[in-house]
């Protein structure tokens, strides 16, 4: 069977991979590590501070999907979990403010913290090993140097807007040394937390701990991590002339180019968004076949900023490996 997922005008065909042992008598399809090593490829398109775009080629959907799922839900990261409010006279309620603080991504290497043991008594639960303390103390006052005529709150008042950058790191115990070089700061300093007016103040303390995304979305290290399959465009019969121009318009720019003889050809199928626009046109009926390559995953990992995106991917691989290891050591699964 081909490994091209068929894109019809009304349905998707051939979505399921069949290359596993026992599917058919003819092909053995047994997993062969050497074969896999030969076939498997990783192509990196680009890696920036926040996003990584890379291709995994020649890998089964289940594995690629496992990476995606683990990146979203099981790679640990640090987020605010407990907020102790001493004073909050702003319009925003304590719970809502705490919720907003919780969602701020923090620039902390999760490896520097250990897991909080929920079984320990609450008094001894938080230590310098497992907890990062931030504090927020803002008081809004009138701005004595306000420019007259300018009625914007930023001009009239001081501290009228409370931002994520106002959260101050308070190193505890050994943290003065461990976090000396890279103190804890929010990844995006300009997230608005609350708005204040003169006389209002917020004073609170935040405990940040390690957690995973399946617990709460705030612990997810990625904004999103996902993949798409590589689009495949097959031109079955030549398309030329004015039709070629129209054909070109059915795709995003850069996908289809036109040869000198006026014939359209696929220049870069990767750029296609698979809008299926071409299938709407009667005249291209039978001339083009759309598809997607089932074992070519174009991953896109968007980090929230705590970790570089590639590291999130590596960690997901590690988590998956640990899971496999665990399964192998399980008494039931221990057949070897």
């Amino acid at each position: 069977m081909s490994n091209i997922v068929g894109i019809e005008h009304d349905r998707v065909t051939n979505t399921v991979s069949t290359d596993f042992p026992g599917y058919s008598i003819e092909a053995n399809n047994e997993f062969d590590i050497e074969e896999f090593k030969k076939k498997f490829q990783i192509n990196i398109s680009y890696i920036t501070e926040r996003t990584a775009n890379f291709d995994l080629i020649g890998i089964d959907t289940s594995i690629a999907n496992a990476f995606r799922r683990i990146m979203i839900a099981e790679v640990p990261s640090v987020a605010a979990e407990h907020v102790y409010v001493f004073n909050n006279t702003s319009v925003i309620q304590d719970e809502v403010l705490a919720h907003r603080i919780g969602l701020i991504p923090l620039k902390v290497d999760p490896d520097t913290l250990t897991w909080v043991d929920q079984t320990v008594d609450e008094k001894d639960r938080f230590t310098d090993d497992n907890t990062i303390v931030l504090s927020l103390d803002v008081v809004c006052t009138k701005n004595p140097n306000a420019v007259p005529g300018d009625n914007r709150a930023e001009n009239l008042y001081r501290n009228s807007n409370v931002y994520a950058k106002d959260l101050k790191f308070e190193p505890q115990g050994r943290q003065t040394e461990t976090f000396e070089k890279n103190p804890v700061v929010p990844c995006d300093p300009n997230i608005l937390l609350a708005k204040l007016r003169p006389g209002q103040e917020i004073s609170l303390r935040v405990h940040c701990i390690l957690g995973i995304g399946s617990d709460h979305a705030k612990f997810s290290p990625v904004s999103t991590a996902s993949y798409r399959l590589l689009p495949v465009i097959d031109i079955l019969k030549p398309i030329a002339g004015s039709d070629a121009l129209e054909f070109q318009k059915c795709f995003p720019s850069g996908v289809i180019d036109i040869k000198e003889n006026g014939e359209a050809f696929v220049k870069d199928a990767r750029k296609d968004t698979v809008s299926r626009e071409v299938l709407r046109h009667e005249k291209f009926n039978g001339k083009v076949k759309l598809g997607r390559q089932r074992d070519h995953f174009i991953f896109n990992v968007e980090s929230t900023g705590a970790m570089p995106p590639e590291e999130i991917f590596f960690k997901s691989v590690r988590v998956l490996r640990n899971k496999a290891e665990y399964l192998r050591n399980c008494p039931i699964g221990n057949l070897n």
């Binding site: 995304g213 809008s275 997607r292």
Partner: protein, 840 residues
């Protein structure tokens, strides 16, 4: 008071002059006007007998008048004031009749006695809603309602509400049916379901209700415009063909032979502002009549005037409006727009759009979407929906949680629901902008995938994305007011609030840990079930007489704790504490408690198309399907919701919303207009999506492509105020009713869950007799009785009082209700005798 005794004839004349058709005043015994009126009535009856088509339609909106607050208040005041005068006079008469008076007569004193009556009467009527005015034979309940502030839309909807006088219980279709004449006057969608359907209506967006206008100037004007006074018209002219009667508020005041000219001239005067804009004039050819209506309670609406096939409103005027130089009133003053009531509307040819104007057209509709009211105006693309869906949405939009007012955080309402992050809809309508729903929205734009998922989405259940909820989707707050009055007692003792009690370590006890030193819950404190938020104490001797001992000086006052204890499954936070004084000068403490709730299983959501559903399952983000961009839906909706409901508007909302999201614009779904589907599809294609709004999705669980394309995009979802947390209920053991010793009923009384008659039938049919016994007796009101086998009556303690013996006593268990029945029968002199025998 010695009026001369009237003869019978005089009395009759007097009655005809003042009682019969009383609204026409008779001066100097000139009965001509009244005679004509009665004659016209007779004539109309005869005409209707001859031609049944001439019978007036009582459901026709032009024949209806709305009663406004002012009219009702003036009636109420008249009644109260006359009653006051009567009482005052009766009082004076009583004193002045006395032959000798002890003190000097002072009328002021007697005024003061009754001075309160009018105020209290008004207050009582307004607060209870009972208008019982014997003088006007008026006996009405439910005239006033407390304005619901549960949401902005519910407050707005209540202020446009019109309730019919018609009896709700009667099954008639006529008054409930949609009347063609209510076009543009009353909303065609907004009416409740059930018994009040079609009787409670709502005003359309641009309607105005007239108030009474003075008749005399209009009458003078008619004469000036060439109409001949009725008092000088002879009967011959009245009946010649082509002579039209001129009727002012139903009374014939003049005749004219040139009705068209007369009406045109009159209208011209109205458009130039010489006559009130709300006076309507129209001809009725069947009755050969020109009717002028200047009475109050008519519904009317503005329309653009068309002259010679051309709209009077030109581009220049609209430019002025755009620049803000002109307002709506300027259009009215300058005669570009006028108000028409239903009757005059019937006499006009109104074009819907400018392109439809023909030579005979007299008016142009300002905007077709104004046939709907404010509440129905929230629906995007309502003209594509099946009509009952719009009606359902009108009922549901009022239950949506959102922002209710700009002062919402300072209010202390009994119950207030607020949404944490309300959003304005992606697909809005012109009405939304007009009523500023985009400033006080109630809902959020959810990314919806229309697909089946997990089986927990059947029967309209929704699948929610856990990560979306974590990030604040559907999060809302519930604020509840709790009041507490510190009473003062006749013996000068009063309730007090005391501080917290502490344990041996000096820490406050659990119940008092949310209290401050003043005994009130501290703002911001978390209050769990069982904790106290107002530590009120009541004096132990409150009921003792005033006489014992002097107040203040005597021994220490003894107090008993009577705290306000919080009891609920979830904890709350103190939001505000207000101290005030009640009507009778007693200290009043109001504590506002707040709960922040994230959506949970069973919470109710609805789109703006009457498609409600409860949350059936909350799914992890990684299990959710995702598209090429990595976008997961916030909500998965089952596609079975579409075919039978035919809410095409919802599909269009999705496509327009998706186009808007991709384009960075807000799209319009205005009724009879809005963003066109072709344009939206164009945007989708330009942005690299399929024209239909259907995307290829990957399963989050297997990672494979889904075999169908999924309709995927943003839809505005409202969270409705019905939440499981307020409704959940279960009971194992609990309180029982005193009389029957059966478990109590209802959640508020921690009641049991009833195994009703039909369930009982099932158990009988199944043959589970032991289960039946357990459910109906053992778990309910089992009671051990001693039955005497001799007489068959019930005894006690192994003793039969009627046989006076303890022989043949058998113990048995029967329902307490059965024992009660036997005793009640005995009290009626019927002896139910039990005959016991062995069955097994």
């Amino acid at each position: 008071m010695n009026a001369p005794k009237l003869t019978i004839l005089q009395e009759g004349i007097e009655a005809i002059a003042t009682t019969l058709i009383a609204h026409i005043t008779v001066e100097d015994l000139d009965f001509r006007e009244k005679a004509i009126y009665i004659a016209m009535m007779t004539r109309r009856v005869v005409m209707a007998m001859h031609n049944p088509k001439l019978v007036d339609d009582r459901d026709y909106v032009g024949n209806k008048r709305l009663e406004l607050a002012g009219q009702l208040m003036s009636l109420l005041f008249e009644d109260l004031f006359k009653k006051f005068n009567n009482d005052f006079k009766a009082n004076l008469d009583k004193i002045l009749k006395k032959p000798s008076r002890a003190s000097e007569f002072d009328a002021l004193l007697h005024i003061n006695i009754h001075s309160n009556n009018v105020t209290t009467g008004l207050n009582r009527a307004i607060s209870t809603g009972n208008w019982s005015l014997k003088r006007f034979k008026m006996e009405r309940a439910g005239v006033t309602h407390v304005l619901s502030r549960l949401s902005y839309i519910s407050a707005l909807g209540m202020m446009t509400r019109i309730s019919s006088q018609f009896e709700k219980s009667r099954k008639v279709s006529g008054p409930r049916a949609l009347q063609p004449s209510q076009f543009g006057m009353l909303c065609t969608s907004d009416t409740p379901e059930g018994e009040a359907c079609g009787l409670v209506k709502n005003l359309a967006l641009m309607t105005h209700i007239t108030t009474d206008d003075e008749e005399v100037p209009i009458r003078k004007l008619c004469y000036m415009l060439g109409a001949e006074d009725i008092s000088i018209a002879d009967s011959a002219t009245l009946h010649t063909n082509g002579t039209f009667g001129v009727y002012l508020n139903g009374t014939m005041i003049a005749t004219t032979r040139f009705p068209i000219q007369f009406v045109a001239k009159f209208r011209h005067l109205r458009r130039t502002g010489k006559v009130s804009a709300f006076v309507s004039i129209y001809t009725n050819v069947h009755q050969s009549a020109v009717h002028i209506a200047a009475d109050g309670g008519r519904i009317c609406r503005p329309l653009i005037i068309v002259e010679d096939g051309e709209s009077r409103v030109k581009a220049e005027h609209l430019l002025k409006l755009k620049q803000g130089a002109w307002g709506f009133d300027d259009f009215l003053i300058n005669g570009l727009v006028e108000y028409l009531d239903v009757n005059e509307e019937n006499d006009s040819l109104i074009a819907l759009y400018e392109k439809d104007i023909i030579k005979a057209t007299t008016h142009l509709e300002i905007e077709p979407f104004t046939v709907l009211g404010a509440v129905a105006g929230l629906i995007p693309y309502p003209h594509h929906n099946q009509s009952p869906r719009n009606t359902y949405q009108c009922a549901m939009g009022k239950q949506a949680i959102g922002a209710i007012a700009y002062n919402q955080f300072r209010r202390i309402d009994t119950l207030l629901y607020l949404m944490c992050y309300p959003q304005q809809p992606m697909v809005k309508s012109k009405t939304i902008e007009l009523i500023q729903y985009d400033k006080l929205p109630a809902g959020q734009n959810a990314t919806v995938a229309v697909m089946s998922y997990s089986g927990y989405d059947i029967e309209d259940a929704l699948v929610l994305n856990k990560a979306s909820i974590d990030r604040g989707y559907g999060r809302c707050q519930m604020l509840r007011k709790n009041t507490c009055v510190l009473k003062r007692y006749p013996n000068h003792s009063k309730d007090i609030v005391t501080g917290m009690r502490v344990n041996e370590k000096g820490e406050p006890i659990f119940q008092h840990s949310a209290l401050g030193p003043d005994g009130l819950g501290e703002v911001g404190m978390r209050i769990q079930s069982g904790q106290v938020y107002v530590n009120k104490c009541v004096p132990t001797n409150a009921s003792e007489g005033v006489v014992g001992g002097q107040p203040g000086i005597n021994q220490q006052q003894q107090y008993r704790e009577a705290p306000m204890v919080y009891r609920a499954p979830e904890a709350s936070y103190v939001d505000q504490v207000m101290m005030s004084v009640s009507d009778n000068d007693q200290a009043l403490i109001k504590v506002l408690l707040r709960q922040t709730r994230r959506p949970e299983l069973g919470d109710k959501f609805s789109s703006r198309h009457g498609q409600k559903g409860v949350c059936g399952i909350i799914v992890q983000q990684e299990d959710m399907p995702f598209n090429d961009q990595g976008i997961c839906p916030d909500i998965i909706m089952n596609p079975h919701g579409f075919p039978s409901r035919m809410t095409v508007g919802k599909m269009l909302e999705l496509v327009s919303g998706k186009a808007g999201v991709l384009d960075g614009t807000l799209q319009y779904g205005t009724c009879f207009g809005g963003s066109k589907l072709e344009d939206m599809s164009k945007i989708l294609v330009d942005k690299g999506f399929n024209y239909s709004g259907k995307d290829m999705l990957y399963s989050g669980i297997t990672g494979e492509c889904l075999q169908a394309y999924i309709f995927f995009g943003p839809i505005y979802y409202q969270k409705l105020k019905h939440m499981v947390l307020d409704k959940m209920h279960a009971r194992a053991r609990g309180p029982r009713a005193v009389l029957t010793r059966q478990p109590t009923e209802g959640r508020s009384r921690d009641g049991g869950l009833r195994l009703g008659e039909m369930e009982r039938d099932c158990v009988i049919a199944y043959g589970a007799s032991q289960l039946l016994l357990e459910r109906l007796m053992l778990s309910s009101d089992a009671f051990d009785v001693d039955v005497c086998n001799t007489c068959g009556l019930m005894g006690y303690n192994g003793w039969c009082p009627s046989c006076k013996s303890s022989e043949n006593i058998t113990k048995m268990t029967i329902p307490y209700a059965a024992k009660l029945l036997f005793q009640e029968l005995i009290s009626m002199n019927i002896a139910p005798r039990l005959k016991l025998s062995d069955v097994f």
